[in-house]
Amino acid sequence: MRFIVSSSQLNKGLQSIVGVVATSTTVPIIQNFLFSVSGSELVATATDLETTISATIPLSKLEGEGQVAIPHKQLIEILRNLPDVPVIFEVDEETWAVKLSAAEGEYSLVGFDANEFPKVPIIEGATTVNFKSEVLKKAITKTIFAVGNDEMRPAMSGVYIEFTDENITFVGTDAHKLMRFRRNDMTSETNASLIVPKKPLNIIKNNLADDDSEVAVSFNDTNVQFSTEGLNVIARLIDGRYPNYTAVIPNNNNNKLIVDRMALLMAIRRVAIFANASTMLIRLKIEAEQLQIFAEDHELSNYAHETMPCTYEGEPMEIGFSARYLLDMFSNADSAELRIEMSEPNRPGIIYPVEDANTDEDILMLVMPVMLKS
């Protein structure tokens, strides 16, 4: 097997899949890329046994089709240090020795029989929904940061995607904050829901373009596949029941606060410097037209207080939040103004972006308060 490929194209393709390679594993073969060459294409595959990603890279020349597994580390390093030159790969199909020739150099490494590489899963009986690349990218970006890391609660360690005949909803939560991103212009013929782990979503998000190119999302009960031009991501779904998030989003929130997002974000950043480092507790004291933000740390005798204008409808109230969560939420929003709806100091605050009505998109952020006791 012999083929020629551009070093920069190969490097770009491998960079998009290398993130899935597990740094430490008990299965040595998955420290390799699987190269499959046929026609005029090279399909490079990497897996951590949960997520499998393939990138398609055009070849300049191919003599003899076939497959080989090549150690990922050496290959990535050599490509990173090569100028944009054609690289000739020669594979001895008896010994799986791989020789690379590029520019003035020759590099040899030991490859492995492709049959040892785990089989790429095939999704049977899949349902497919097509997304625009920019929409899927936004849906993932808006929800993934709220996802938890707790191994004891695996269901919350992924993004929940709900397909209905009315809309498609993405949800991320760690039980302290929740992000819901909904597209009302997208529907699915079959009602379904899945929980997708963070790792494949991060990889797909980083490889999606901000354009309207098509991404096919296919899924069955156990796996999901994201296919876009040149990239294919297959991931095992998280098995478990997603918490009933709709039941905990309160409806009767009579206290409504409208504030400038950046002004509030900056004020919280300043005040939070003086908050207790472990709780990051800040208190919001809200009255008509005036929002006061307080932080204090008794141990260090730190104190901070800022006042800013706001529009407020409702009873004056005082509510505590973790500055960390509010900053996460506010920096992830795009709108100039935010509407924060609250009912009681022990009930969640619900944050909506205030912007020109985009009926296609519906974003809801929810943050749980910190209980304030005197």
Binding site: D150, M152, R153, H176, S278, T279, E299, M371, L372, K373
Partner: protein, 437 residues
């Protein structure tokens, strides 16, 4: 001016207060499971029994000299410590309780000519009120006060109070004081000092600040400044809540079954929860660890720990026990003989600022009331009057070996010493009787 008060041979002294038979005898107190020597009376020290030595190594000395051996009785020592501290506070209220038997005092509000008299008064009062003898070191900084205390203990000429008054005297002492015995200088720093030819505390004080900082960081520089008489380490009078709490024990005998292990972990978790409630805080994380006996090479080894983050920070015994058992289940393996287990609670925050959770179905208010009631009952009626059923079983396999435990003279009604006065022997009655006659 700072004073450091240190109780002399504290554990052994506590035992002697209620058991006069132990006076003027060699007494040693053993660690958990009666393993090592953790306290010695002066008589025991004179016999050459070292600190921290395993008891089996000094068995001959013990038998030959009739040394009194006791298991550690922390209920007694804790209570006696509180009495000592309370007594000191009647004379000097500005105090930092540094350990079970040590306290720093801020004497800056006292006139210099009163200081020595005050120190002797403190010694006298603690002896009279509690029955514990103490040594006092007085100096301009905490580090020097610690050094002064060391001298007060070692040299009888000080009569229990050593006051490092003037700079020349301090320098004179530092010139012979080994650098490794200075408070705040550990084994590594000592080795490094020695490698630079620095063997005494005085030699270290003569080095430049930049050199000290470069080699021993700001922490080392602080210690040196303190030796020079410049106070850098303040008295911590305010109560600082602990950032993590650990309760762990080595078992009296090795355990391989899950149930007794779970019973031990339940007890450790309950203690952690109680300590959290005492300091009015709650914890976010629970770590459970289990270890086999690493000295038993003939047995299969397994040591593992796991951390669980609770959905909502808590100090509830029930909740912490539930998560601790869940954690234990995830690391426990059959067919291993475990020697030690422990529970650590961390991510501690004040109970007044708890991050709520979206999917929390626990009635926190009710739970808090229940814990308050249990604490009140256990305080009034005795430890573990109300307990979690898993805390106690018929087979108490995991408990410490404490074969030579003294009674809890001050904390258990049943152990209270009864004093009986008979007509024949009381001097008062004798006088009365003779008057009547």
């Amino acid at each position: 001016m700072i004073a450091l008060i240190d109780c002399n041979n504290f554990y052994a002294s506590c035992e002697r207060v209620f058991n006069p038979r132990l006076r003027h005898k060699a007494v040693i107190v053993l660690s958990n499971n009666d393993g090592c020597v953790v306290a010695r009376s002066n008589e025991a020290k004179a016999l050459g029994i070292g600190m921290g030595v395993p008891v089996f190594k000094v068995k001959d000395i013990i038998e030959r000299n009739g040394v009194e051996v006791l298991s550690s009785n922390y209920a007694l020592y804790g209570d006696m410590s509180q009495r000592v501290m309370q007594t000191i506070a009647t004379l000097v209220p500005d105090m930092e309780v540094y350990s079970i038997d040590e306290a720093f005092l801020d004497l800056s509000n006292f006139k210099l000519h009163d200081v020595e008299k005050l120190a002797h008064e403190i010694r006298q009062r603690v002896w009279q009120w509690v029955g514990i003898s103490i040594s006092i070191g007085i100096a301009p900084t905490k580090t020097l006060a610690k050094l002064a205390n060391h001298l007060a203990k070692k040299n009888t000429k000080y009569n229990g109070v050593c006051w490092l008054k003037d700079r020349n005297k301090i320098d004179e002492i530092l010139q012979t004081f080994p650098v490794g015995e200075v408070w705040g200088i550990g084994r590594q720093m000592t080795a490094k000092c020695n490698s630079f030819g620095i063997n005494t505390a005085y030699q270290l004080t003569q080095k430049g600040d930049a050199w000290i900082r470069g080699n021993f960081t700001i922490v080392g520089l602080r210690t040196v400044q303190e030796l020079r008489g410049i106070a850098c380490i303040e008295l911590q009078q305010n109560f600082v809540a602990k950032q993590s709490i650990c309760t762990s024990r080595s078992f009296g005998k090795m355990i391989s079954d899950f149930d007794p292990l779970a019973e031990a972990v339940t007890n450790f978790a309950v203690r952690c929860a109680e300590k959290l409630r005492q300091q009015k805080s709650v914890a976010n994380n629970i770590t459970v660890f289990i270890n086999t006996n690493r000295f038993r090479n003939d047995l299969p080894q397994h040591s593992q720990s796991v951390v669980i983050t609770m959905p909502v920070a808590s100090s509830s015994s029930q909740e912490i026990v539930n998560y601790a058992i869940k954690a234990l289940k995830s690391i426990y393996k059959n067919n291993y003989q475990y020697k030690k287990a422990g529970v650590i609670v961390s991510g501690i925050v004040e109970e007044s600022s708890v991050q709520t959770s979206l999917f929390d179905d626990v009635d926190r208010e009710k739970q808090s009331k229940l814990m308050k009631t249990i604490d009140l009952l256990n305080h009034k009626m005795g430890k573990d009057t109300v307990y979690i059923s898993r805390q106690k079983s018929d087979k108490i396999e995991w408990k410490n070996r404490r074969d030579k435990l003294s009674p809890s003279y001050t904390t258990r009604w049943d152990d209270l010493i009864e004093a009986k006065a008979s007509e024949e022997i009381t001097p008062y009655n004798r006088i009365k009787k003779s008057e009547n006659d």
